[in-house]
Amino acid sequence: MSVNKPTDYGTPASASTDLVTLEIDGHSVTVSAGTSVMRAAVDAGITIPKLCATDNLNPFGSCRMCLVQIEGARGYPASCTTPVAEGMKVCTQNEKLGELRRGIAELYISDHPLDCLTCSANGNCELQDTVGQVGLREVRYGYEGDNHLCSEKDESNPYFSFDPSKCIVCSRCVRACEEVQGTFALTIDGRGFESHISPGQDQAFMDSECVSCGACVQACPTATLIEKSVIDVGQPEHSTVTTCAYCGVGCSFRAEMKGEQLVRMVPDKNGGANHGHSCVKGRFAFGYATHKDRITKPMIRDHIAEPWREVSWDEAIQYAARRFKEIQAKYGKDSVGGLTSSRCTNEEAYLVQKLIRAGFGNNNVDTCARVCHSPTGYGLKQTLGESSGTQTFDSILKSDVVLVIGANPTDGHPVFGSLMKRRLRQGAKLIVVDPRSIDLVDNSPHIVADYHLKLKPGSNVAVVTALAHVIVTEGLMNEQFALDKCEVDSYEKWKTFVAQDKFSPEAVFEITGVDPELTRGAARVYATGGNAAIYYGLGVTEHSQGSTTVIGIANLAMATGNIGREGVGVNPLRGQNNVQGSCDMGSFPHEFVGYRHVSDNATRQLFEQAWGVSLSGEPGLRIPNMFDAAIDGSFKGMYVQGEDIAQSDPDIHHVHHALRELECLVVQDIFLNETAKFAHVFLPGASFLEKNGTFTNAERRISPVRRVMKPLAGKEDWEVTQDLANALGYPMNYSHPSEIMAEIASLTPQLAGVSYEKIDAMGSLQWPCNEEAPEGTPTMHVDEFVRGKGRFMLTEYVATSERTNSKFPLILTTGRILSQYNVGAQTRRTANNAWHSEDKLDMHPHDAETLGIVDGDWVGVKSRVGETVMRAVVTDRMQPGVVYTTFHFPESGANVITTDNSDWATNCPEYKVTAVHVSKVAQPSEWQKEYQHFSDQQQAFLDNRIPVSE
């Protein structure tokens, strides 16, 4: 088929290395031991009819279509459930088998609507194909017998329809929900002929536990579960494999198209990160890409109090270049800077930083990793030698202990969360360190955290050091590993340091609030429970001691020898699709591509030679420094590609103040985002569907992004950056992103072996990829650490200055939710709002009662820097004294409250700890009213824009 549907082998591949040779229909075939007869037949080029089997699910043996005969075996075994055996002789087609299969097909069709021609699956229906294959010609039972043809449709999910009248009860959806997604939202209710798919307890999909990951829809062999987009527009006719533009998991998808129209996104089973799984965002929430809010023409204005004016690309670029040049002439070379985007491609991030370093002539470039994983970059570089996670996602399938710190994988990284849940269901031990009871703790079927260290926000370092204290004082280290692979001196110092009484779980109890016995138990399990892997997120990094915690995590892994092989490691769960990549691409003010310091002369000379300019050896401004400098008056111009600092950065008052001070703000984005409301030049961006390039995910996997439709505004983002560079007088002349990647590879040791040809051939590549590792590096630090010897560093606990007191008695912490993505610019423009349409404040029943607040009340949340209003949710997922909100909606103003406190090493904001006062209120906050006014005004400037004069 032209949509390039991959071959379905019916059953999963066997991992065995032993080979078995058998004969199928006279053909000799050799396969791995444990392979099913069905899969072996596919290998031999023989298709056995099947309905309940598909190769991402364990065999089930229910449809009985795949019966075969095996010499010497009784009866007619199902080929999907029968493993191959040496010398086995299988017959897949004969008169008797044909008779049986027709008999079964006849039963199926006796309870199936006969509307094939108008059915949404027409042309892509496994039932239709199979019945055709077996040659059923008559249904002798007639159609007036008992049936399910009048079953009611469930249209409750915004993205897919469930029509039980077409269901053949193969259980593929149920099994996908269990085995692949791990949500267990579906079951078969009733038995015998009454068996039917039941979401929840015979509820509508939207009322059930369903998380709309789409695994069931993908698994369905009929039109029972089918995308509404397919119902609306029909079957797609061609497809292209590309990479999701949501989170840092980096799932591969087949974008299935009808001409220029994207019909559906189907996860690619060959995807190295996702193996055919998806979440509600990547699978369904792509409608934003063609949303009416997309801006497709460049716009300029002299002042932000003026309406926009549409202009040609050339005029916009020339205007921007002129303003930047004027500013630099007036205020100096360092008065301008820019931000690369973690949502754009590697090539685009590279070009933006190149433009800034070579075109602007300074190092004032930063990226949104500043506000998320910059402490990871710092902490892991210092200890292990490389600013990245150490493992592949699949590594977790070999873990015996999983330690999750400050991450919520089932919401934030759902596809990896499902993989983690699979391993936990297989029996791996789980330790969760989190102030909240995230779903992994006790709200995921068949999973309960063995240890939940429900710490007080801000006490990560104390907890991590207490874990180390237990390991050292109880002698649970892997001393051999530490002495062989790490700096002995640093290890000895660290041991002495953490062994101090002041770090015992009992001593830090006052700080952490964690039962010392739990801490001790968790430390013992982590150190002695087999392969132990640490996964962490922004709950680790977004603190005043974010870098210290990252260092503490690396210390734990080194001390216990849990690094350098599969099943272990230190794994930051990166937030955005290309945040790893944007960091790799030299987006930080102090580092060139590949994390090499700008002050290093040899590196700088390399780039000066390649780029033909002289470069500054002085690190440039970080984002918060840019804001401060803007308010001081020394920073006047900014080029922001694909990042919404006006919503995502902390202490919004301060950010907005800074943005208003800029004389030229150039925003390149697909929407008029919050930041663009302060902009003078708007350069319309291209969605991930409209460009070529690569994204790098949290496991260092470089995956292809492929253009499946023309850019709505006519240009891919890298082309726009190139135009701007040229207009600034710095020549760039790339004709395709592959040329940019070639340049990157030539300048970066870790990426020296990367090329588009290789990515196309292999599907994806994990860096380091160079002469030593031509096919990439799944697991890092195998023989030795990247920096040579691992380095232990001391992790003194220093309390944040953000303290509670009688005026601000509660701690606010922030996070995100499954259905929405970060600032929500994309997901808010999709039907994902059906799950989450506003940010709310979660609080413990005890606090709610004390404050006289009930579920659904409007509450004012006031910090030392600002106030906002949202609705309260009373839930015991919280601990007393801690409140929580998400930050997906600009009007919620979560960052109105957050402060400018930040990580000591990297300035990563302390989003996770803000002292607040919560009270019942009747109206929006002053900020919200002002925001609404400003927002309305800017919307009007957009709505009343002066059209391009052509």
């Binding site: 459930t81 049986l100 079964i104 006796s110 002798r140 015998g192």
Partner: protein, 514 residues
């Protein structure tokens, strides 16, 4: 003090045993006569229940069936001294129905107080276990293998081979699971053992645990057996208290834990893999095999799943040796089968006999012919999935192979009798209906086929395209027989086709059209 025996068995209870007990207690008290009523198991002569036995100097003397209204009369007649009365039966063990049995597995049922461990010990209880504790695991398995015991649940798989597979499957944890989901219509031997001699099952499971290295056992008991549950739990408690269960059994250093788990009312959970699913807390859905439960069973661990009677037959094998048990029976069917006689029969009950006895002997010599007095037209042997056997086949000996040769099964040994007023087309329809009701719904032939089966039989009986639909019914039976995942769908055609083949006239068909 005179000891009376009145059964706690469900059959006796349903016939009013509890009221008889009350009547004896109140009336004896009123007469100032001291009695002790032992609640024993049933002797299995159901037409005589409620049966009352009195312990006298000359042995136990039986009366029955006793109504509460008979009690004053019986006491007045001198029942407590074993005197004559119209309901006087003498020593129950002297009745041919009882005397002609080979009570190996049921040796104690009716004789002892089922939950009194001392009574059990006094009647040769735990001798098998004591022997087993002296043997190596493989030697225990050998005894069972040598006995020729085959699974009494219906599949007749050699028990020793199954045990040997589990013994040789390396695992840290193994399980013994007793299939006590006795759901076949007309069967009740499992229930009678569990209510009448629960210790023999517990002992058998403990021996199984020793034989394969399993330390945990579960009895999966159908929810419809509340009295069995009480008896089992009382007996398990006593066994724990006396060191016959738990850690360090009889100071041997061996461990075996046992608990009863209730089913949720699904026939299919008597199928061993569905049973395991249910025991794991899931829907009772059939698993495909291989892997066999002996290799990948409960919670994925090597597991013996044996029927109650199979396990309850183990103690006597370990007590008296495999050879002793093997000496009973014929051909490859060794030992005894507790035959359950039900339906339209004069003397319903349990009859434990060595394999080889014929159907005719059971139906007429012991069963006394039909209850209605009319000719017996057909009997269904082996539960609702068993074939209907007609009069011409009544001389077949009860033997797995002999039954298989006539496309019938012995199954769990249940026999349901029909006289000549039964319509066999109705019976065929009922077989399909039963499958509709009880199919787990996993595989297509069973899930949809059974519903279509009912519809097609209705069409035949109602003269709708009779010939075409008869062909269709046979094709459907073919699809179900060879296409189904388990015996539920695979054997439903047995009663259907046997009815169609032997009694075409009931379908309105002539012999040659059927």
């Amino acid at each position: 003090m005179t000891r009376l025996f009145i059964s706690r068995d469900s059959t006796a209870l349903s016939l009013g045993a509890e009221h008889v007990v009350t009547a004896f207690q109140t009336q004896a008290a009123a007469l100032g006569q001291e009695i002790e009523i032992v609640r024993n198991g049933s002797r299995g002569l159901f037409w005589l229940e409620p049966l009352v036995e009195v312990e006298t100097a000359e042995g136990r003397v039986a009366y029955g069936p006793v109504n509460p209204s008979d009690v004053s009369d019986l006491l007045a007649a001198g029942l407590l001294e074993g005197k004559q009365h119209p309901l006087f039966l003498g020593n129950i063990e002297e009745l041919a129905y009882f005397k002609d049995q080979n009570r190996l597995t049921f040796a104690r049922v009716g004789l002892t107080d089922p939950v009194d461990i001392d009574d059990y010990l006094a009647h040769d209880g735990y001798r098998g276990l004591h022997n087993a504790l002296k043997l190596q695991a493989a030697d225990i398995v050998k005894q069972v293998t040598d006995s020729g015991l085959r699974g009494r649940g219906g599949a007749a798989f050699p028990t020793g081979i199954k045990w040997n597979t589990v013994l040789n499957a390396p695992a840290e944890q193994k399980y013994i699971v007793c299939n006590a989901d006795e759901g076949d219509s007309g069967t009740f031997s499992d229930r009678m053992i569990m209510e009448g001699d629960p210790f023999v099952l517990i002992e058998g499971m403990t021996i199984a645990g020793l034989a394969v290295g399993a330390t945990q056992g579960y009895i999966y008991l159908r929810i419809e057996y509340p009295h069995a549950k009480i008896a089992l739990n009382q007996a398990i408690e006593a066994a724990y208290a006396r060191g016959y269960l738990g850690e360090n059994i009889q100071n041997s250093g061996k461990t075996f834990h046992l608990e009863v788990r209730s089913g949720a009312g699904a026939y299919i959970c008597g199928e061993e893999t569905s049973l395991l699913e249910s025991l794991e807390g899931k829907r009772g859905l059939v698993r495909f095999k291989p892997p066999l439960p002996a290799i990948v069973g409960l919670f994925g661990k090597p597991t013996i799943v044996n029927n109650v009677i199979s396990l309850a037959s183990v103690p006597i094998i370990l007590d008296k040796g495999g050879e002793y048990y093997r000496d009973y029976g014929m051909g490859r069917s060794r030992g005894t089968l507790p035959i359950q006689i039900a339906g339209n029969i004069k003397h319903p009950g349990l009859f434990e006999a060595a394999f080889g006895i014929t159907l005719r002997e059971i139906l007429y010599t012991y069963g006394g012919g039909s209850a209605s007095g009319r000719p017996i037209r057909a009997v269904q042997v082996g539960g609702p999935l068993g074939a209907y056997v007609h009069e011409g086949q009544f001389d077949t000996p009860l033997d797995y192979e002999a039954f298989a040769a006539m496309q019938a099964v012995l199954g769990h040994g249940g026999i349901v009798v029909h006289d000549d007023t039964s319509n066999m087309a109705d019976m065929a329809r009922y077989a399909m209906e039963f499958c509709v009701e009880e199919s787990c719904g996993k595989c297509t032939p069973c899930r949809i086929g059974s519903t279509r089966g009912v519809e097609v039989i209705d069409k035949i009986v109602n003269n709708i395209e009779k010939d075409k639909n008869t062909v269709l019914l046979r094709d459907l039976c073919n699809t179900m027989t060879f296409g189904s995942l388990c015996a539920m769908g695979g054997m439903t055609p047995f009663p259907v086709l046997s009815a169609l083949n032997h009694f075409p006239e009931d379908f309105g068909l002539s012999k040659d059209k059927a």
